[in-house]
Symmetry: C2
Subunit: 371 residues, 2 copies
């Protein structure tokens, strides 16, 4: 088995966390007897934009479509390139043009990570957020009128389509069904956002009929955010619109202390390589390019490695994916003991250590090789 991976390190710490992540993936591939061909590109970065005036070359689509998946670092350099150029010219463009309609993120309390919530034990929080990733609040239709006057009015449309809503719900229901707890929580705000959100609720209720084995509940986004803090252990699969999913998939990992190391999978789960047009999926860490710490060699590589782990899972390499995840958990969970016993500090500063991108990346890579 062999997979071709488009590697887009992007900007800032994206450039630093990519190499250790690729080494971890190669280590896992070696253990399980498959090959990974990495094709690295310097575009989809602000560096490229500042040189060429565009974020991506003309043939970007063809280049990415030759690959089985896209492994994306982090893009953005707001001091020099406005976000709307860098993001809408790369990440958000890929999501939409490859119709990556699912954004999937795990929310796990893992050993060795300091949880900001009181009294939560590792393993006690373990759920997934499923976010609609192409339409909704990110529709970009709208505009301004009476500009520069007292009457100035700015309008933006939220667009929900039957196709768009149903396919993300379908994915979420199937995912919930596949898990032991079989529970699906839908984020809404139909009491305040009175047109689009009641529609979302209707589609949830309609599809729930097909999944009598799945426990379905809905909460308004305001109180759902509160519940993430109050009782995160009770969630299993949480589904939300583009905006609500965005919020929940940052808040969830924040509640488990993993926001700096969480991964994000942008999936087109129904695409097939045999389709007339192949739509590859994209895997990235949740963190951004972090210009403030870029170049210091101290960026935490776990988010990128974990994103690679989700990519292996997507490629069907379940055993390799399981190995990478357990290597992450072992290294983080064992880091304190190792510091005491061997005097080796593998953790990066964001996790309270004095290690580097390299020390943490190497520790995980070695664990993958030797486990």
């Amino acid at each position: 088995r062999s997979y071709t991976i488009a590697v887009l390190p992007g900007d800032g710490i994206g450039l630093e966390v990519t190499p250790p992540a690729l080494r971890c993936l190669e280590a896992a591939a070696a253990r399980f007897g498959f090959a990974l061909e990495f094709r690295s590109f310097d575009w989809a970065s602000c560096t490229y934009y500042l040189k060429h005036g565009v974020m991506i070359p003309d043939n970007w689509k063809a280049l990415l479509q030759e690959c089985d998946a896209i492994f994306f670092g982090a893009v953005g350099d707001p001091a020099r390139v406005p976000d709307h150029i860098s993001l809408w010219g790369s990440l958000l463009k890929f999501r939409r043009e490859f119709d990556e309609y699912i954004n999937l993120r795990p929310c796990r309390l893992i050993p060795g990570v300091t949880c900001p919530l009181a009294g939560r034990a590792p393993g006690s929080i373990d759920f997934l957020t499923v976010r609609e990733n192409t339409e909704g609040e990110y529709s970009s239709i709208g505009g301004r009128i009476f500009e520069g006057t007292e009457r100035e009015t700015v309008i933006q449309n939220t667009v929900f389509t039957r196709v768009g809503v149903d396919r993300v719900l379908r994915y979420a229901f199937e995912l919930a069904r596949s898990r032991p707890a079989k529970k699906l929580t839908s984020a809404t705000k139909s009491n305040g956002i009175s047109i689009t959100m009641p529609y979302w609720d209707e589609r949830v209720a309609e599809m729930a009929k097909e999944y009598p084995d799945v426990k379905v509940e809905k909460y308004h986004i305001d109180i759902l955010c509160a519940h993430f803090v109050q009782r995160p252990h009770t969630f299993d699969v949480v589904v939300g619109s583009n905006l609500f999913g965005d919020i929940l998939s940052d808040l969830g990992p924040a509640c488990t202390g993993t926001i700096g190391i969480a991964p994000s999978a942008n999936l087109n789960p129904t695409a097939r390589k045999t389709d007339a047009e192949w739509m590859p999926s994209l895997f990235e860490p949740v963190h951004g390019s972090a210009p403030d710490i870029a170049g210091k060699g101290i960026a935490n590589p776990v988010g990128m490695i974990w994103a690679g782990q989700m990519m292996l899972e997507y490629l069907g390499e379940k055993d390799a994916a399981a190995l990478v995840l357990s290597a992450i958990e072992n290294v983080l969970g064992g880091a304190k003991a190792r510091l005491q016993e061997e005097g080796v500090d593998v953790l990066t500063p964001d996790m309270g250590g004095r290690g580097t991108t390299e020390s943490l990346g190497n520790a995980i890579e070695n664990t993958i090789r030797s486990k």
Copy 2:
């Protein structure tokens, strides 16, 4: 001095928490030599709706405009009346028709309340959320097309006006300026919601020029929610659109453990009784009508009492307001000791006690009378 207060207990536990709150307000008025005339109405409730087919009588506006402020319990009985009827027929209608364009909510870690975050001491979290309360994502413009088909599309407009955005920002900047930390955090999502949110950011940047003494920062709503969990002690005044403010003003109190007891002030801060049309402000607890515990006498009255405290502040009775707040803090902070020393449990079950609405309400009332 004398104030006329419209009292709308509403539904469910609204009916139970109103009487103790009125007694607390009267106790405070007696101490500081002003009078409160309460006018109680049974409308703005589902009970009224089920009898009369409308949420409010024809002359609702005139009746409320005769009062200096509105004291609102909680409305809603979703098992019998759909939310869009009960909420848009009362609370949301009042907010819009009286142009209560500010929703102000305190977020304080107070003694005696269990904080879900690890290692936070009482007093260490103390900020305010300022929410735009009339436009934005709650605009109710939009609709459906191609209904019942595969092409079904549902659109809702978010509407930001110069007037609407500037006045809430003005209020937030002034509030920040009046506080020792002089810090304002603006919630945005201009990297994803690419038309309305950049406009919001522009108005913030424009007004910031007038307030060089205020430290201004902006965060995207996703990461801001994460920061509420990670470093809530660093916020001072946080301003957001109708939706973002809604989310943050539930999440903030959830982070301090006060979501069940937090108050909410719906303010028209520029209205004057001498205006051609008087626009009264409305004070309510954040909690809802809680049909599941209604009628048991165990609802926590603190949210309603604290809402009354905000009303006293608004009426200009600062000393009375300060007394009520310190009475709440003293009773909650001293409750455990009192249970051990006197065997009296004043806390309601939601706070881990075996007390009742009455025991907790009485304890606060007595503290106000005797302090």
